[in-house]
């Protein structure tokens, strides 16, 4: 307990406390703008932290990290454009909620889920970090492959109408993700000797295009006068009995997100989807996923914020960053003269426990800022449509361009937008494309490395942990298929009569 005490006394300093809301606000700003991510924001402020006291700097960076993760949900809900890749799963039910006139409720739910996921994540992190870090090491290459396959099974269930169309969408995503250097040999493929292509297709422009730009094109079809606006905002309350209704999802998704975040390189982008899939599998009759089901928003947002905390486990306890943002944090710790690794908790308790406490305060701060801010952010959709969607396009262009000052990325965004538009018109779901593009390379890399490690034998598929996860994935597909059949049959019968 003395660590907590030292952390608390280190935290009781005005300059540290000021950084908490500052970091959260900065994080919300970079997170809410598609294209700007927490990594960019943190890297920008890293040199600034050199001049600060270690805890002060760390608190600022953590505030940006967590603020951005929450704020990614805001444009995901309002404009179907995830502000950060980890909020991609939030669009699946968040945007339909906004379209049904429940934008206010969707935003409140995403905020509460983010805060709950983050707070529980912080608690798990502070209690179990060293033990969990050792557990994470038992996940080797074969287990990573199995996890990626489990995440890919969600494709079967987000397809909406036709499963085959969902798989087409997924294969297109896998193909796009294959462009550029391959993950094992480092050879260029599908790049036609073009330097821009061989660098690979960046995720963020693709994400912005396939969701935001395609939605803008669809909306612009029918806008013709100054007075059109989106639907009503609805209530800003969570709805009666929300604890009972959404609580279990929140808790389960937090755990899924937290554990996926612990695996370096897998992290938050998958966490949201994994949790969404598991939630959907446990759906009750009457839950309408994909059509504005609040549980979907809860699952995605609780999971991605919890995975933020999970990714700090390998960072702090092993000295290995779980994702790019925690790589920046690792840098900040080193510069502060602290060596992350197994000895960290004993060597710098004031810094470690001070940060944990600061994160708790940051989430409280986020809740307050969020609850006040929601009424402001939601005004975005009340901008007349004739301005709103062109402005979404401008922000999409800026966001895609700003990632690396590369007009090619804007071209990628435009093409992804047109592709998403055409796919929507032909009734092909776009979510599988994105999931496959994110998860596919992880599956491929770990499959190929497993083959190399095992000298060509496939026995690694039957190792206990790997086999268990793969069975879970198979069960998930079978389950979805059976359920799909059940819902399709009555519908077809109606058509026939």
């Amino acid at each position: 307990m003395s660590g907590w005490y030292e952390g608390l006394s280190a935290l009781m300093d005005l300059s540290v406390l000021v950084m908490i809301p500052l970091g959260v606000v900065l994080g919300i700003a970079v997170g809410a703008i598609p294209g700007l991510s927490a990594t960019v924001g943190m890297a920008m402020f890293l040199p600034f932290t050199f001049t600060l006291d270690p805890l002060t700097g760390l608190v600022l960076l953590l505030g940006i990290y967590n603020g951005a993760c929450y704020a990614g949900a805001i444009p995901a809900v309002l404009l179907r454009t995830p502000g950060t890749p980890s909020s991609a799963a939030t669009t699946l039910d968040g945007y339909p909620m906004a379209q049904k006139g429940q934008a206010g409720q969707a935003l409140t739910i995403s905020l509460v889920a983010s805060v709950a996921g983050g707070l529980i994540g912080t608690l798990l992190l502070s209690l179990f970090a060293p033990a969990l870090a050792r557990y994470a090491l038992s996940f080797g290459t074969p287990e990573y492959f199995a996890i990626a396959i489990l995440a890919l099974t969600i494709i079967a269930s987000v397809g909406g109408g036709s499963m085959a169309k969902g798989f087409v969408s997924a294969f297109i995503g896998l193909t796009i993700a294959s462009i550029g250097f391959d993950p094992i040999a480092g050879f260029p493929r599908l790049s036609f000797d073009n330097t821009s292509l061989s660098g690979g297709i960046s995720l963020i422009p693709m994400l912005v295009g396939i969701f935001g730009v395609s939605e803008a094109l669809i909306q612009l079809e029918r806008v013709s006068n100054m007075h059109e606006r989106m639907t009503a905002l609805g209530s800003f309350r969570m709805g009666a009995g929300w604890v009972k209704r959404l609580g279990p999802t929140m808790m389960g998704s937090t755990l899924v997100g937290f554990f996926s975040g612990m695996l370096p390189g897998v992290g938050g982008d998958i966490g949201g989807y994994l949790a969404y899939n598991e939630t959907k599998r446990l759906a009750k009759p009457g839950d309408r996923f994909g059509e504005g089901e609040p549980k979907g928003v809860v699952a995605a947002e609780a999971a991605n914020n919890a995975s933020n905390m999970g990714s700090l486990i390998p960072t702090l306890a092993l000295g290995v960053p779980g994702n790019t943002q925690s790589a920046v944090l690792l840098g900040a710790l080193l510069i502060a003269g602290v060596q992350p690794g197994p000895g960290l908790f004993a060597a710098a308790p004031e810094l470690v426990f001070g940060s944990f406490l600061a994160m708790t305060l940051a989430y409280a701060c986020m809740l307050a800022i969020g609850l006040l801010g929601i009424r402001l952010w939601v005004r975005v959709v009340q901008i007349p449509a004739v301005y709103l969607w062109p402005l979404v396009l401008v922000f999409s262009v800026v966001g895609s361009y700003a990632v690396r000052n590369e007009p090619f990325d804007v071209l990628v965004m435009l093409m992804a937008g047109v592709l998403g538009y055409l796919m929507t018109k032909a009734n092909y779901p776009v979510a599988p494309l994105l999931i496959a593009a994110i998860v596919g390379p992880i599956a491929e890399e770990n499959f190929r490395r497993s083959m190399i490690l095992n000298e060509g034998s496939l026995t690694w598929l039957f190792q206990p942990l790997t086999a268990t996860i793969l069975l879970l994935a198979a069960a998930s597909v079978v389950f979805t298929f059976v359920r799909h059949r059940k819902t399709q049959r009555p519908a077809r019968a109606d058509e026939a009569s």
Partner: protein, 149 residues
């Protein structure tokens, strides 16, 4: 009940064939037992071809492209975006954004001069300031505009 168009499955088929053809030119891996860089693209190509055949016979009705004015708006927007991304570096962000917004609002069908001219200029300036000074993101500005801002 009418069936869906044949165009989407045909496009999927052609894309699948294209992917398969392009993956023929990929260098083989050099590590023992590595399935190789072409492994994934080949699966994708084959998968797309098989699925396109299935979808060719199992066509569900779908929405299809809009007609008339709506289609013009969509194509016009895509063309404007293409012009915008090519002009963003030579003209700078503020000017190219103002032009894009003006023409886009025109395509939508607005003819009010305030909305067409004044608002785009103000908005593009505001966004430039937001990124440049609020968020520390450098956007291209030509010398001409650099003096003003």
């Amino acid at each position: 009940m009418s069936k869906g168009s044949v165009i989407p499955p045909v496009l999927v088929l052609l894309f699948g064939i294209g992917v398969l053809a392009a993956s023929a030119g990929i260098r083989p891996g050099m590590l023992d037992q590595d399935p190789g860089p072409a492994f994934m693209p080949r699966i994708c190509g084959a998968g797309l071809i098989l699925l396109s055949l299935y979808l060719f016979f199992d066509r569900e009705p779908h929405e299809g492209l809009p007609r008339g004015g709506s289609l013009v708006k969509v194509i016009g927007t895509a063309v404007l975006l293409l012009a915008y991304l090519n002009l963003i570096e030579p003209l700078g962000f503020p000017l190219s954004t103002a032009l894009f917004l003006g023409f886009e609002v025109f395509i939508i069908g607005i003819r009010n001069p305030v909305v067409l001219v004044a608002a785009p200029i103000m908005l593009s300036g505001a966004i430039y300031y937001l990124f440049r000074y609020g968020l520390d993101v450098a956007l291209p500005a030509t010398r001409l505009f650099g003096v003003l801002i």
